[in-house]
Symmetry: C2
Subunit: 373 residues, 2 copies
C-alpha cells in the first residue's frame, strides 16, 4: 500500500475512534467497576513501537499491522480494560515535533471500540530523535514533517527533533480521551511520570474493592531505566493508605523487568514452575534497584508484576509469594519476528482468582496460568 494511503487510513482510524469515544463518553473517576456476574478481563498491549521509520513505506505499514493485531485480540477477547504497557511509540525514530500523533494511532483500536484503558511509559516513549548515519551520505536528509501546531521551526526550515516529553504525551492523552484512566502521577516523582493506582470495585458495591492495580514508570529514554527511591516511598505511602491491612489483592504494572526477573528466568527451557511459550533472549533488566522489589516481596497482597520490554520472552515464573510475568510482544514495530499477541489478565471476585493467558494474532490461545494461588 503506498505510504500516503497508509497514513490516510491510520488518520481515518483516529477520526472514527474519536467519534466513537464521544458517543460512548463516560466519566472515569480513577476507579473501575466489575460487571454483574462477570469476571473483569484486561488485555495488555506491550511494545507497539508506533512511528518507527516513519519516513519509509515499511514503518507506517508496520503500524497498520499492529492495528491489525490489536483489533483481532480485542474482537476475540472483548475485554473490559486495556493496559498499554510502555514502548507505545519509538520516539527515537520519530522526526516530527509532536509524537502524540503516533501515540494517538496506537490507542485508536481500543478507543474505537469504546474500551477504557491506561498507559505507562517505556524506554522508547520519550527518547530524542536519532539521526540515521545514512542521511549524511549522498542520500541526504528527507524533507521533515512538522505537522503540529507547536512545531518549532527555528527561523524557518529546521524542525527541532528533541522528542516529546512524557508529560506532554500523557497530558495530551488525558485531555483528548475520556476513556483514558491514565494519570501523570505525583509531581515529586518527576522525571518519572506514569505512577498511579486504579481501584477495581465489585459490581454490587463501589466501596468494596476487588483488586488494586498499581502503575509504575520504570524510566528509560530521557533518563535512566530505574524505579527511584522516591517512587518506592510513594508506593509504600499509597499502599499503606488504601490497603493498610493487606486485604485487597494487588497487581503491579511497569515496563522494564526488575533484576529479580533475571533470578527466576528459565535458562534453556520453560521449566515446570514457569508457564510460557518463548525464551529467546536474556532478561534486559533495569539499571539498578532502589528498593521496589524488597517492598513488594514483603506484601503478601501483591499477586503479580507484569512487564514488557523483552520481545522474545512471554513467561510467568513464581518469585517469593508472587508471580513475575512478561506480557507478549504486540507490535510489528521493535526488534524480533516472533508471532504477535497479547497477554490477557482476568480477575474473578468470588472466590478471588487471578488468571492469565496469551491470545495470539491468529486467534489461538496458550500459556494459561493461575496467578493467585
Amino acid at each position: 500500500m503506498p505510504r500516503h494511503l497508509i497514513f490516510a487510513y491510520l488518520s481515518l482510524i483516529i477520526a472514527v475512534g474519536a467519534a466513537a469515544a464521544m458517543r460512548l463518553r463516560t466519566t472515569p473517576e480513577g476507579n473501575l467497576r466489575m460487571r454483574e456476574g462477570a469476571a473483569f478481563k484486561m488485555v495488555l498491549f506491550a511494545d507497539l513501537h508506533f512511528g518507527e521509520d516513519s519516513w519509509t513505506e515499511w514503518g507506517p505499514m508496520q503500524d497498520l499491522k499492529s492495528v491489525g493485531v490489536m483489533s483481532a485480540v480485542l474482537d476475540d477477547e472483548q475485554p473490559d480494560f486495556v493496559v498499554y504497557l510502555g514502548d507505545v511509540i519509538t520516539a527515537n525514530n520519530i522526526m516530527v515535533e509532536n509524537a502524540s500523533l503516533y501515540w494517538d494511532q496506537a490507542l485508536s483500536p481500543t478507543r474505537v471500540r469504546g474500551i477504557p484503558w491506561s498507559t505507562i511509559f517505556g524506554n522508547h516513549d520519550d527518547a530524542p530523535f536519532e539521526w540515521p548515519l545514512d542521511w549524511f551520505s549522498e542520500v541526504g536528509v528527507p524533507q521533515p514533517h512538522c505537522p503540529s501546531a507547536n512545531a518549532s521551526f527555528a527561523g524557518g526550515s529546521e524542525c527541532i527533533f528533541r522528542g516529546t516529553t512524557r508529560l506532554e504525551l500523557m497530558r495530551s492523552e488525558i485531555e483528548r480521551d475520556s476513556l483514558s484512566f491514565s494519570s501523570d502521577g505525583p509531581r515529586n516523582l518527576w522525571p518519572s511520570v506514569s505512577n498511579y493506582v486504579l481501584k477495581l470495585s465489585s459490581a454490587s458495591n463501589a466501596q468494596d474493592p476487588v483488586a488494586l492495580m498499581y502503575f509504575v514508570d520504570s524510566g528509560g529514554g530521557s533518563y535512566p531505566e530505574i524505579i527511584s527511591n522516591a517512587q518506592v516511598k510513594w508506593f509504600q505511602e499509597k499502599s499503606q493508605e488504601i490497603n493498610p491491612h493487606l486485604r485487597v489483592p494487588e497487581i503491579i504494572f511497569w515496563h522494564i523487568p526488575s533484576k529479580a526477573y533475571k533470578k527466576v528466568a528459565p535458562k534453556t527451557r520453560i521449566d515446570a514452575q514457569c508457564v510460557g511459550s518463548i525464551l529467546w533472549e536474556s532478561v534486559a533488566a533495569q539499571e539498578a534497584e532502589m528498593g521496589m522489589m524488597k517492598v513488594l516481596e514483603k506484601r503478601p497482597s501483591v499477586k503479580a508484576v507484569f512487564v514488557g520490554h523483552n520481545h522474545g520472552l512471554d513467561w510467568c515464573c513464581p518469585h517469593k509469594k508472587m508471580w513475575l510475568c512478561f506480557a507478549r510482544h504486540t507490535g510489528y514495530g521493535g526488534y524480533g519476528n516472533w508471532a504477535r499477541g497479547a497477554r490477557v489478565v482476568e480477575i474473578n471476585q468470588e472466590p478471588f482468582c487471578l488468571k492469565s493467558w496469551i491470545r495470539m494474532e491468529d486467534g489461538s490461545t496458550h500459556s494459561e496460568v493461575i496467578l493467585s494461588s
Copy 2:
C-alpha cells in the same frame, strides 16, 4: 569559594564583558584584516566544557579555573582573534533550559578584552541532559534551576531538559555579541550548523586575501559525529567560488578529528616528522568519512586542519601536502588532568608563513612548528 559566590563572580565577568563589548563595538562583516606591519595571531580555545556538574561546588569552580586559563593565555599572547574549537559547554551536564548562559560564560574572557572570535560546535554542545543515576537513590533530584525567560515549566514544577539546540546557541551568540564572527551557516546543511568562511585580508588592501579560514561543524551531540556529503559539496562550491585558482592559502577548523588523524598518529612517542608534547590516548575519530578529506587532500592551498576533542593529544603531523593538528585542552571541564593551554596560530603575509605553538596556563610555550612549508 562557596557556590553562590562563584556564580556571582562568573556573572560579574559576563556583565563587565558585555560592557566592554559595547565600548569596543566594531562592525564585523565576515572578513578579518591584518594590522599594518604585524602578523595575525589567533588563539584556539578547545574543549572548555563549561556548565559541567553545575549543581555541585566542583563544577562552577572548574569553570572559574577555565576562565583563568583563557585570561592568562590572552594576556600573554595578545591575539587578534580567538577560535572556540567546540565542546564550549557540556550540555549533557546542564540542567537548565537555556545553555546559552554557560556559552556566554565561556566567551567572556575574550569579550571582556574586546577581541573578536568565532565558534564551532563539538559533540558536547547540544546534547540532551543526562540524569545522574544517583539522583534516583535516596539523594533525590536537586531543585532544578530554569532561569531563562523561555524556561519550559510543563504545568508548574518540571523543567524540560532537552538541551539547547545548535541553532539556538549560535543565534543567541550572534544576536548578543558584536565581536562574534560566527555564522549559523547555510540552511541546507542542517542539522550541521557552524559552517562558514572568514577571509583574512591584508592591511593595505581589503580586496587582497592573505588566507581563507573554513569553519566546519563535525557533528555529535544531537546527531552523528560526521561531516556530511552536503557539507563536502558546500565546501567544494564555496572554495571554487572564492579561491578558484588555489592561490590563497586555506586553513580548516573543526572539532572531531577525521579518520586521517588515526593514520598519521604517532604510536609510542612523538616522532621526527611530528611536533607536540603529549600522546596520552588514541585518536577518537569521526564515525564515517563522506569525502571531506579526499577533497582537502587534492587542494595544495590547504595548509592545515585544526581539531580538538582528544584532550590528551596536542601534536601536529604532516599528511599528504598539509598538516593535521590537535589544539590543546584549554578547559578544566572534561576528562583528563594534563596541564591546560591553548594552541596559537600566527599568519605572516609577506612572505606567507603559517606558524604555530602552544601557550600553557603557566606562561611557558612549546611545540613551535612551521605549517606552511
